[in-house]
């Protein structure tokens, strides 16, 4: 069993163990143990990666390749580079934090944790697979559990949101499927066999006509899940209805699949198509960034605020990816990570606030800083991170994106960059607005004067996510260099 397949097998074992558990107590213990093991594996993977990279300069390391359906040349083929290592770490952390946050999940706990872990399997698999078919399989595995997770354990119009989310994402993946088939059947453009293997296809230069047709399909297929305007409408409702842990995983990890897929498949395999279409999608991404920020400005439900801020932040990721240069790609990945930690933490905090006050309407809340200081202070910190305060993760990512994007001669890119940069102000406005109304000011509601204090498992969950945010922000060098180095071959392929 190689170091990567463990990321699939350990969760599966966890699930099998969960099947035999009884009640909440056992279930959460088991899933916590599983989560911890995964986190350890992920951290270990980082070190192993550096050790391996020192001696082995392949694009992907720890590769493993098993023939699956040989008539279609489908392989179970996995491997990682710096990007996927980082994202795996993100996933492991968020999943564990999610387990902690849903410590008191009383309704059908076993099923809840199982679906949660199934989702994580999909994500892990997606990040490690270098075969388009397995990639796609894991993609769908990651999406489907959302339906049950939101539908069963959600709040508000959960059935509606769950259905909407699932259908839009599956619709996207349907489009993606056509795109993938298109790539597959042109993967023998300069002779050789048809293949799903990303690295092999990257060596082939697929004719421009084909790329022109299939790039939009692949791009949209992936971008929908990272809330590309105008296909983002599933995300606010989905977030709003989802239970806390699910919002965390969803915004923290699931939405990252989009950016990763765009980078790994759309950009890497169809570079000319990317160049040809970039102007169009850049416009969409820029709209998404500004639009999301302004939409967030008007919301009163905390979860909606964060959903729209996610639209804005992930718009930034797509924008950076479309900029097609190393620095901005580095920024995109860093932004994915930082946004992952940030939003996960945001939703965790919102969940805690909601569980205490039974409302998410910022106008109903107020003066929380006085009654639940710990949560509120963390909320402020995360808010600052998300408006790009130096010393926290958001800044590092955004600066990479801006500087990178600005390295383009072409005026169009420059102007769009400047438009995007101006979003940081709007971000500041809606973050501070929410914080100001909800946390500061006098305590609106007498009932809130004695809210339960924050518990140990909540603290653990919070710290799990907070530490990376600060860590990234204070000492980004090793991370950004690791990613930069892995981006080298990709950017060479594209340019």
């Amino acid at each position: 069993m190689d170091i990567l397949s463990l990321f699939i097998t350990v969760p599966i074992i966890t699930i099998l163990a969960l099947v035999f558990t009884k009640g909440l107590k056992q279930a959460r213990i088991v899933s916590m143990v599983g989560g911890v093991i995964q986190l350890i594996m992920a951290i270990n993977l980082v070190f192993a990666y550096f050790k391996e990279k020192a001696v082995n300069d392949a694009i992907m390391v720890f590769t493993r390749d098993v023939v699956w359906y040989e008539h279609f040349n489908i392989h179970y083929s996995i491997g990682v580079d710096g990007v996927s290592v980082a994202l795996l770490l993100l996933t492991a952390i968020v999943v564990l934090a999610g387990v902690f946050i849903s410590w008191k999940m009383n309704d059908l706990p076993k099923e809840f944790f199982i679906s949660l872990i199934v989702l994580s399997i999909g994500v892990y698999g997606f990040f490690i697979s270098i075969d388009l078919f397995t990639l796609f399989v894991f993609f769908e595995i990651a999406v489907i559990p959302m339906y049950l997770l939101i539908g069963i354990w959600g709040t508000g119009p959960k059935e509606y949101s769950a259905m909407k989310l699932t259908l839009m994402l599956m619709g996207a993946s349907a489009v993606l499927l056509v795109g993938i088939l298109g790539i597959y059947f042109n993967s023998n453009a300069d002779g050789g066999a048809l293949t799903f293997n990303i690295l092999e296809i990257a060596q082939v230069n697929i004719p421009f006509e084909v790329q022109k047709i299939f790039f939009p399909l692949v791009f949209i297929g992936f971008a929908v899940i990272s809330a590309l305007f105008p296909f983002h409408t599933w995300s606010p409702d989905g977030h709003a209805s989802a239970p806390t842990a699910v919002s965390m995983l969803h915004a923290g990890v699931l939405m990252k699949l989009g950016g990763y897929g765009v980078f790994r498949v759309a950009m890497y395999l169809l570079p000319e198509g990317a160049l040809h279409w970039s102007w169009f999608f850049i416009i969409l991404a820029v709209i998404g960034v500004i639009y999301g920020a302004f939409a967030a400005l008007k919301q009163t439900d905390l979860k909606y605020i964060n959903a729209y801020s996610s639209v804005s932040h992930l718009g930034l990721v797509l924008f950076a990816l479309l900029m097609l240069n190393k620095t901005s790609w580095n920024g995109a990945i860093l932004q994915s990570l930082s946004h992952g930690f940030m939003t996960a933490l945001f939703f965790a905090l919102i969940g805690m606030i909601y569980s205490r006050t039974q409302t998410r309407d910022i106008y109903k809340l107020g003066g929380l800083l006085k009654v639940i200081p710990f949560i509120s202070v963390i909320y402020v910190i995360v808010g600052l991170a998300s408006l790009g305060l130096p010393g926290l993760s958001g800044f590092v990512a955004e600066m990479n994106i801006f500087v990178g994007a600005f390295q383009h001669e072409d005026m169009f890119y420059r102007v769009s960059t400047i438009i995007v940069v101006s979003a940081i102000v709007v971000t500041a406005v809606y973050i501070l607005r929410a914080a100001g109304i909800m946390l500061m000011g006098p305590v609106k509601n007498e009932a809130y004067l004695n809210l339960p204090k924050v518990t140990w498992y909540e603290k653990t969950g919070i710290l799990l996510l907070l530490i990376p945010i600060v860590g990234m922000g204070v000492a980004p060098l090793w991370l950004s260099d690791m990613i930069l180095e892995s981006l080298q071959p990709f950017i060479q392929a594209v340019l």
């Binding site: 008539h71 279609f72 595995i141 049950l148 499927l177 088939l181 298109g182």
Partner: protein, 474 residues
């Protein structure tokens, strides 16, 4: 002539023997032992299924009227497995509803007869044998559809089936006569050599195609499906939707891929149009169904539309993907029908909103149902996904990207209504849910087999590889 050549018909003969044996036992068995007939039948058929796995060499007899090869043989096995599962699932129903009216044997006799008809149909070497097989497979089903003589809708179903079937066979006979007119033979091999695209032959092709499309229930020849499924006993509905559809698909595939290959440039467009129509109509109707049987009927229509994606390229890859999909479809659909059967037998409820809160009372059943529906919808990692994906690959391999796109759009639509059932079972809470009940051994066995199939068929690649090799000797 030496009778060893009859061994080619081993399956048919064995099945016939079983049928006759059952009739004899029916005559001699004492009244109070009647219930044991079910066990006997299932046992015998189990033996038959197992024996079926022993290989049969390729060959023709009766001057080529009957011919068999590995693929055909494999497909007969698929049908056997399907029927076996179906018998397991309907065993309890037979015990409680049929045998007590002392009509158990007829059920088996009719069903085996129809199966025999399918054997002959798929290993037919000329149109006469094909026609006889077709009729032999249809008529008993009509009888079975009207089997619950006390129920009005059952008789309705029977009548609708028999009349539509008669019309269909009439039309398709007319078509066959035209093909005969153009080619001067009813033997497949001769036809292949001489047939050319004249107006008459094209007309014949279309008429004949309609006859089989009726059995596969392709739009616009599908209207009988929903009504008959709803009226007929569940096991018959599932038999129609799985076994007879599968057999028809198979023989149609053989005819189009080999006999009518010269007309491919006609029928590929025909298939193209009908595939799109079928997928859309099936899905759109399925959207708003309340009765599980109707729901599954329309879903099976949509599935038939997907199957045509494999037809359209008309080569080994297409054949392999189609057979593979049908195999998976057999398991998935039988699982779904099995659950419906179990619940309807226990509580008599057949509507989707009766299923609300099912998971909280009967988790196992609802899990089986969910797996089955996901497999039908094509969600990984269950088998259905692979079946569909390979069909899409097949279609795309000849550049039918538009068709694939339409298909995936339909997959999304279908996902919607499959999720409606999942919603009822998992998301909803009901104040009077279906109470917890324990299934009998047979039913449990039937469901377990299907679930194993759903889980294994996709992930375990050798099965597909084997099918692909078989499709070589189409």
């Amino acid at each position: 002539m030496d009778f060893s050549s009859f061994l080619l018909m081993r399956q048919e003969i064995l099945l016939l023997a079983i049928t006759l044996l059952l009739i004899l036992t029916e005559i001699f068995i004492p009244q109070n032992k009647k219930s044991s007939i079910v066990h006997l039948a299932i046992f015998l058929f189990g033996i038959h299924t197992i024996v079926g796995f022993f290989a049969i060499e390729e060959g023709n007899i009766f001057g080529g009227m009957f011919h068999t090869n590995d693929l055909v043989h494999f497909f007969k096995n698929v049908l056997n497995i399907g029927v076996l599962i179906l018998l397991l699932q309907s065993a309890d129903w037979l015990q409680e509803k049929i045998v007590i009216h002392n009509r158990g044997t007829e059920f088996f006799v009719l069903m085996f007869a129809s199966l025999l008809g399918m054997y002959f149909m798929i290993s037919a070497g000329d149109f006469l044998m094909f026609y006889l097989g077709l009729e032999l497979s249809t008529l008993p089903i009509a009888a079975l559809a009207a089997y619950e003589t006390t129920k009005r809708i059952s008789s309705e179903a029977g009548i609708k089936l028999i009349l539509s079937a008669a019309l269909a066979s009439g039309v398709s006979l007319f078509g066959i006569s035209m093909l005969y007119a153009t080619t001067g033979s009813i033997y497949f091999n001769d036809i292949t050599e001489v047939i050319t695209a004249t107006n008459l032959s094209i007309l014949g092709l279309i008429l004949f195609f309609a006859g089989l499309a009726f059995k596969i229930s392709l739009v616009p020849f599908h209207f009988w499906t929903a009504d008959v499924y709803e009226g007929a006993p569940i096991s018959i509905a599932s038999y129609l939707s799985v076994i007879s559809k599968g057999a028809a698909v198979f023989i149609l595939m053989i005819l189009l891929f080999t006999v009518l290959k010269p007309l491919m440039f006609i029928w590929e467009n025909l298939v193209y149009v009908i595939a799109i129509a079928t997928m859309f109509i099936g899905n759109l109707f399925a959207l708003r169904q309340q009765n599980m049987k109707r729901f599954l009927a329309f879903s099976s229509i949509a599935q038939a539309g997907f199957i045509l994606l494999g037809f359209i390229i008309g080569n080994q890859l297409g054949a392999a993907t189609v057979v593979y999909f049908v195999l998976i479809y057999v398991f998935s659909n039988l699982a779904a029908f099995g659950v419906v059967q179990a619940i309807s037998l226990e509580t008599g409820k057949e509507n989707i909103n009766d299923y609300e809160g099912l998971y909280r009372t009967n988790p196992k059943l609802s899990l089986v149902m969910m797996l089955a529906l996901f497999s039908l919808a094509g969600i990984p990692p269950v088998a259905g996904f692979f079946g569909k994906f390979f069909l899409f690959i097949a279609a795309a391999s000849e550049g039918y990207y538009i068709l694939v796109f339409i298909a995936v759009v339909n997959v999304t639509i279908s996902l919607y209504y499959y999720l409606l059932v999942v919603r009822a079972m998992f998301l909803r809470k009901s104040d009077n849910p279906i109470p917890f009940f324990k299934n009998k051994l047979y039913m449990r066995l039937g469901l377990i087999i299907t679930v194993l199939g759903i889980l294994i068929l996709g992930l375990y690649n050798p099965i597909y590889d084997y099918i692909f090799e078989l499709s070589g000797n189409l």
